[in-house]
Point group: C2
Chain length 78, copies 2
């Protein structure tokens, strides 16, 4: 079994209210050294044989990310 990880994040120019909510909560926890928080998705695909990055990219593009507002990154995990 080989694992391919797809990271899906909102594009930098898209507002992330969920991340903003976490960032706003941090000072109340006494954390002042975090300037910003962005929240996205991490998807783990378990391939039965060899990991196929090209196939993973196709899955990400069609099923996992909305490429109008999100960008994704695909990698094999050791």
């Amino acid at each position: 079994m080989a694992r391919v990880v797809v990271d899906v994040m909102l594009k930098p120019e898209i507002l992330d209210p969920q991340g903003q909510a976490v960032a706003n909560a941090l000072p109340r926890l006494g954390v002042t050294e975090v300037a910003s928080v962005r929240i996205g998705k991490r998807i783990e695909l378990e391939f039965t044989g060899e990991p196929d990055l090209e196939k993973a990219r196709e899955i990400a593009d069609k099923l996992l990310a909305n490429t109008v507002i999100e960008s994704f990154d695909v990698r094999v995990e050791k």
Copy 2:
């Protein structure tokens, strides 16, 4: 600015209906070599100074993950 990434995934023994829905959709796309799909969160914390993994772990534990059903992993991104 230094980026710390927190990956939050459901524990292996917890059912992941969202990942299961994606896995069920794959054969319809002609993908048969993916055995399972798990979907979690990726959170990017931008530190103003040096990245502080201990602080990031505290934030993950208190704000980002529900440790009853989720596990998390914290790392500095180059």
